[in-house]
Point group: C3
Chain length 165, copies 3
């Protein structure tokens, strides 16, 4: 936890549980907007949310056939996330990405890079990594030390704004 007392008034903690394209957007837009306005921002990536941090060039991951199979069905990486609805075998997701591009909305990867540059703390959930057999090498550079629920809670308790997305 960074700083107590006054610090509680200037901190945002987002628990990023979702790995959908359409939910990754508010996670990263709210985080970068908060950082831009001078707030201290932590994102705790857990469960499906961890897949936002997966390298785009990493396909099959896992430690046994079950976790490998899950990685095939849910590859992860900003370029491979899908819409939570209207995915329609890829057509809806592809259209939404095109609509964003046409409207000059930053891509997820650009937002994620921006978040890192702005000093947003990106904490991967240790339990999810262990369970799914993901290693630090499977994740992008610049993420923080894998952390547990106790750390997420501590960050949240020190925050002015909390969101579970």
């Amino acid at each position: 936890m960074s700083d107590q007392g006054n610090g509680a008034n200037n901190k945002v903690t987002i628990i990023a549980w979702s790995g959908d394209l359409d939910r990754a957007y508010p996670i990263l837009i709210l985080a970068t907007t908060a950082a831009a306005s001078g707030m201290d921002v932590t994102i705790f990536f857990t469960f499906w949310g961890l897949f936002i941090l997966k390298r785009n060039d990493r396909g099959l991951t896992g430690k046994d056939w079950m976790t490998k199979m899950l990685s095939l069905m849910n590859r992860g990486g900003t370029e491979h996330l899908k819409l939570s609805r209207l995915h329609m075998a890829g057509m809806g997701t592809s259209m939404m990405r095109q609509i964003f591009k046409k409207n000059n909305i930053a891509s997820l990867q650009e937002l994620l890079d921006m978040a890192r540059e702005m000093g947003v703390r990106l904490l991967p959930c240790q339990m999810t990594m262990d369970a799914l057999g993901l290693t630090r090498d499977d994740l992008i550079d610049g993420v923080g030390e894998p952390a547990g629920a106790a750390t997420a809670l501590e960050e949240a308790a020190a925050s002015r704004i909390n969101w579970f997305i």
Copy 2:
């Protein structure tokens, strides 16, 4: 942002990202309950959530074939929202609406009207409107000025309760 300091103790900000029938209910029930208890309430409608504010009589919207196609697949308006699960080609959604009616639970439209009358601020997300080609005329009367993430964040930072739904 309405009022700082003490005001932070009496304000609720809901980021309404979801456009499902079953998630629109807690958004509007929590908002009207908070307003009824004298709290200052802001709802920021973004992404799928914006479709809660779409007029029920407005069908096809958008500025090009992609956004028009999306409006066909995701029409919006309180009367056209679907359950996030058990929709079952409309049967589950229809049954849930009937169950609510039988139990004298207000309809979404009634809750939305009530929220407006109670002074709940309904802020549509500018970026979503631009991207999907939605205009003020496509939305119900009485919504606030379209706003961006910075405004949503400012409201959130001044709030005692924050929820992302």
Copy 3:
């Protein structure tokens, strides 16, 4: 609402709206982690979330054919919850449960029992119970009095951390 003022600094309120296996986990992990660190925790179970509290041995419930039919399609109880994605006719959900077991992650039922023992307040939503025809007997032992949105809001307003899951 337990205690005002200083109490607001030591309380967590989770609105548990989701009844998915993968969302029930963060609900119960965050709740038990907070209780373990000495915080005062309330979970308000509403809509699909109420099904986390349903007895595993209770199948068909409801007061008329519609609510009975819904109970068949969405049985509830910690042992019957499904993944929100990759359920794949049960295969994905079954694999995820096995992965958790192999990694010595507590089952949902164990987490729920632990939460009760730690004194986490488990409040079922009265409106959902009435609408779906669920009775106290359909729910596990040790839950609090069924409550409404006003109670949930009161708990939230007294909390340092709020999450809608």
